[in-house]
Symmetry: C2
Subunit: 436 residues, 2 copies
C-alpha cells in the first residue's frame, strides 16, 4: 500500500489555496516522485464560509487551529497565517507535539528565527521555509545545499514584487509613484496597506533570512539599514536612464573583511546588468560565491501558485526525511547550531559606495561651484555633473555622480548643502552598485 | 571528536584540482555547515608528476584507481575522468563495494544512466551528478527538489559555454565563426577538438539528463535532434539583430500533449528576453513549471572552481545522508524507479515553430515571387520578408520569417527551392522561439 504523509494547514488564504490546488492537480506526479501520497486531513481558518474556488472534502475545515496541533495522526503542520502571533505560538505548539512544520512567514523568521530553531532542535523536527523568501525561487535550497561549498561574497536581491512592479512601471511606462501605486492596488499587485512593501521592510525581513543563512548567524530586520522607494521621482528614473542605469529596490549583503554590509534601499544599477532586466512583480537574487562566481536566480516572488509550490517542495523534503527516518539533515541557518556566530553589521555611515545626487537649487550663477566646493571639502570626489536647466519646484535640478565616497562624509556635506539658502529642497541621494 | 567523511578522487584534471582547492580554502566553513570534516584519502591519476599548482599530502596520489575502490575506509568515490570507459567500470565497481559515488560525467549519464541507477539502487548507495549539467548552477537540485511539486512545461537551456562564447562574440564584437573559434582555443575557452561543443552533442547530453529528470524517464542523447553552430554566418547574426533577435545554441524540451519535444539547435530568441543577456561562457536554464511559472537560473557552466564547488555540494549531500543514516532519499531521475516511464519524443519533422530563412539566390526579377509561390504551395505562410540586395556569393540574400509552420512541410519546400537553378547555395534555416 502507498505510504501516506498526513498534513494539517493553518490559514487558507492565497498561498493555502495554492497548496490545495497543486496537491489536487499534481497529486499523481508528486506521488511518483516522492513514493508516498500527501494527504491534507485538516485545514484551520477563521473564515470557513468563503468560496475560494476550490472543492474541499466535507468536514476538512475547522476554526480551531488547536485541533490540528492535537491530532496525533498529522505529521506536518503548515502555517500560512503570517504575522508573529498567533503564528509563533501555533508553530511552537506543533513542534512540541513532535510535528514537523512548514511556514512562509518571513516576519516571524526574521524576528524569532533563533527560537524556532531551538524548538525544532529540541523536538528533533524539521522546519521548512522555502516560501518565505522569493516565493517561487528555491533560493533557500540553492544557498544551503547547492552552494554549501561556497563562501558568499555578496548578495543583491530584488525581493519585493510590489516595489519592483512600481519601479519597473515608472521606468518602462512613465508616471509618478503615487498614481502607479494606486493602479497597482486596483489590479491587486499592491496591498491596501502597502507600507511594508514600499518602505522596504518586507525586503529587510527577507534579507535578514538570507544573511543568517549565508553567514551562519541570526540577524533580524532591525539590524538592517532600510530605505523605501516612495520618494523616488520620475526625474530620477529618467536621469538614471540617461546615465545608463535603472533604479531598483535592492537588498544588499556583502562581506567586507570581518564585517557584513546589510542594507535595503533604492539603487542605481547598470542598464546592461541582468538584474536590470528583472521587471514587474518578478524577483531575482544575484549572488557571488567564491567557488561558483556570479550566479542569478529569477522567478515569481509571490502568488498563489509559485508560493504554494514552494510550500509543497518543503513538505516533500520533510516527507523524504520521514520516509527515510531522519530529521535535521540540513541545518536551519545553514551552519550547525554550535557554529552560529555573531556578526558585526557595518554601520551605514561607514560604507563606501558611489552616489547619485540630485540637488534642487536656485537657478543662479555660482551655484555649482558652491556645491562642488562643499563636496570637495568633505572629500567627496565628483565623477560627473550635469546641469540641464530642468525646472524643478521653481529652481533647477543639478545631477551629480560621485566617485566612491564614505557615507559619513557625504552626510556631513549634504547636511551643509541642505541648509544653504540657495537650496530649495532636500537633496535626493541614491546609492549606486556598479562593481557587479 | 569531529566526524569525518573519507573521499577518494579518480581523475585530477581541472575539476579535480578545483575540488582540492576548495576543500583546502573552505574546509572550516564546510565543517561548520556539515558538522563533519571532508577528508580526501587517495587520488588516482595516470599522471602523478605534473604540478597542478596545489600542494598535496605526500603519498596521496596513485596511478591505480582500484586502490580507491578497494579501500574499505573510503565512503565516497568521486569520478572525474570523463568518457564512458573506464569511468563506468570504476563507478560500478565502487558501488558494488558499497561506496557512494559522485560524477560530473554527462556523456556517461546520458548514455548509461539507467544502469548506474540500477546499480546504485541495488547497492543502496547514492549517486551525485550536480556538476554534469551547467557546472556551477544547482539545476539538478532545483529541479528534483525545489520544483518537486511542478509539472515542467518547457525547458530552454544555454548549456555549452564554448558555443555560447563563440555566438556572443560574433554578436557583440563581430567576426566569423572559424576565426573566433581559433581565438577561443588560444584563450582556453574551447578544446583543441571542439566538435562535441560546437556541434551540439555536449548540449544534447545535458538535455538528455534534464529531460530524464523533468519527465521521469531515461532518454539518451541519440533521441535528441541535434544541430551545431558552425554553419552560422555573420550575416545571420546581423540580420537577426535587425529583426530584434539574438542567435543562441538552445537545448529545448517541451511537453506537447503526450509527447515531448527534444531538440538542440541554433535558435533566434527575442533580444529583450533574459536568455539573450546570457553572454560569454555563462550558462542558463529558463524553465516554466505549472505552479512556479517562468524561472531562470544563471551562472558559470564549467571551470575548475564552479564545477569543483558543485562536486563538493554533492559530497556534502551524500555526507548528510551518511551522517543521518539514510540513502536514496531523492530518486535519481526525479521519479521513483517503479514510476519511470517511456516517453515519446516528437519527431523533428512533426514540430511546429517559426523559422528564419536566408535564401542565396540570383539577383534577377521574379525570384521572390518564385520563392513565395513554392512556400505557399507547402502551406508555409510568410510573416515578413526583406531583400536588401546584399551580395552573397555573387547573388543576393533574401531574409524571410515564417509564421508557425510544420517542419516536414518546410523541408519539402526547401528541398524544392534548393534545387532551383536560381538558387546559389543551400538555404539557411534557423528556428525561432518567441512564445517565451
Amino acid at each position: 500500500m502507498m505510504k501516506k504523509i498526513t498534513i494539517g494547514i493553518i490559514g487558507l488564504g492565497t498561498v493555502g489555496t495554492g497548496v490545495m490546488r497543486i496537491l489536487r492537480s499534481n497529486s499523481k506526479i508528486i506521488r511518483e516522485r516522492l513514493g508516498a501520497a500527501l494527504s491534507v486531513k485538516k485545514i484551520a481558518d477563521l473564515d470557513i464560509k468563503s468560496d475560494r474556488g476550490i472543492r474541499l472534502p466535507k468536514g476538512i475545515l475547522t476554526k480551531d487551529a488547536q485541533e490540528i496541533i492535537n491530532d496525533p495522526s498529522i505529521d506536518v503542520v503548515v502555517e500560512l497565517i503570517g504575522g508573529c502571533e498567533p503564528a509563533k505560538t501555533l508553530l511552537m505548539g506543533a513542534m512540541a507535539e513532535g510535528k514537523h512544520v512548514v511556514t512562509a512567514n518571513k516576519a516571524l523568521l526574521a524576528s524569532h528565527g533563533i527560537e524556532l530553531l531551538k524548538a525544532a532542535h529540541h523536538a528533533q523536527v524539521d522546519i521548512g521555509f522555502e516560501a518565505s523568501v522569493a516565493g517561487g525561487i528555491p533560493i533557500i535550497k540553492a544557498r544551503r545545499e547547492g552552494f554549501a561549498a561556497n563562501r558568499i561574497r555578496f548578495i543583491l536581491g530584488i525581493l519585493n514584487g510590489t516595489a519592483n512592479y512600481i519601479l519597473s512601471t515608472m521606468t518602462n511606462e512613465g508616471g509618478n509613484f503615487s498614481d502607479i501605486l494606486k493602479e497597482a492596488q486596483r489590479q491587486g499587485y499592491a496591498e491596501s496597506d502597502p507600507v511594508l512593501d514600499i518602505e522596504g521592510l518586507d525586503t529587510a525581513h527577507k534579507l535578514a533570512i538570507l544573511i543568517s543563512m549565508a553567514y551562519g548567524t541570526t540577524i533580524t530586520a532591525e539590524d538592517i539599514y532600510t530605505e523605501g522607494i516612495s520618494h523616488i521621482e520620475p526625474l530620477d528614473i529618467e536621469f538614471a536612464r540617461e546615465l545608463g542605469y535603472k533604479i531598483k529596490l535592492l537588498a544588499i549583503a556583502r562581506e567586507i573583511g570581518s564585517q557584513i554590509e546589510a542594507r535595503v534601499h533604492p539603487t542605481l544599477i547598470p542598464h546592461e546588468h541582468l538584474l536590470s532586466k528583472v521587471d514587474g512583480t518578478y524577483n531575482a537574487i544575484f549572488l557571488d560565491g567564491d567557488a561558483v562566481g556570479p550566479s542569478m536566480f529569477y522567478g515569481k516572488g509571490a502568488g498563489m501558485m509559485p508560493s504554494g509550490g514552494a510550500v509543497i517542495s518543503d513538505i516533500i523534503d520533510i516527507a523524504r526525511n520521514i520516509l527515510t527516518g531522519t530529521s535535521n539533515r540540513v541545518p536551519f541557518f545553514s551552519h550547525q547550531p554550535e557554529y552560529l556566530r555573531k556578526i558585526i553589521i557595518k554601520n551605514i555611515k561607514e560604507i563606501e559606495t558611489r552616489y547619485y545626487l540630485r540637488f534642487s537649487v536656485d537657478d543662479r550663477p555660482g551655484v555649482l561651484s558652491k556645491l562642488s566646493g562643499i563636496l570637495g571639502k568633505h572629500n567627496i570626489s565628483i565623477h560627473s555633473v550635469i546641469q540641464k536647466g530642468r525646472r524643478n519646484k521653481g529652481g533647477v535640478s543639478i545631477f551629480l555622480l560621485t566617485h566612491e565616497s564614505r557615507e559619513a562624509a557625504l552626510r556631513k556635506a549634504l547636511d551643509h548643502i541642505d541648509h544653504l539658502s540657495l537650496t530649495r529642497a532636500k537633496t535626493m541621494v541614491i546609492r549606486i552598485e556598479d562593481q557587479i
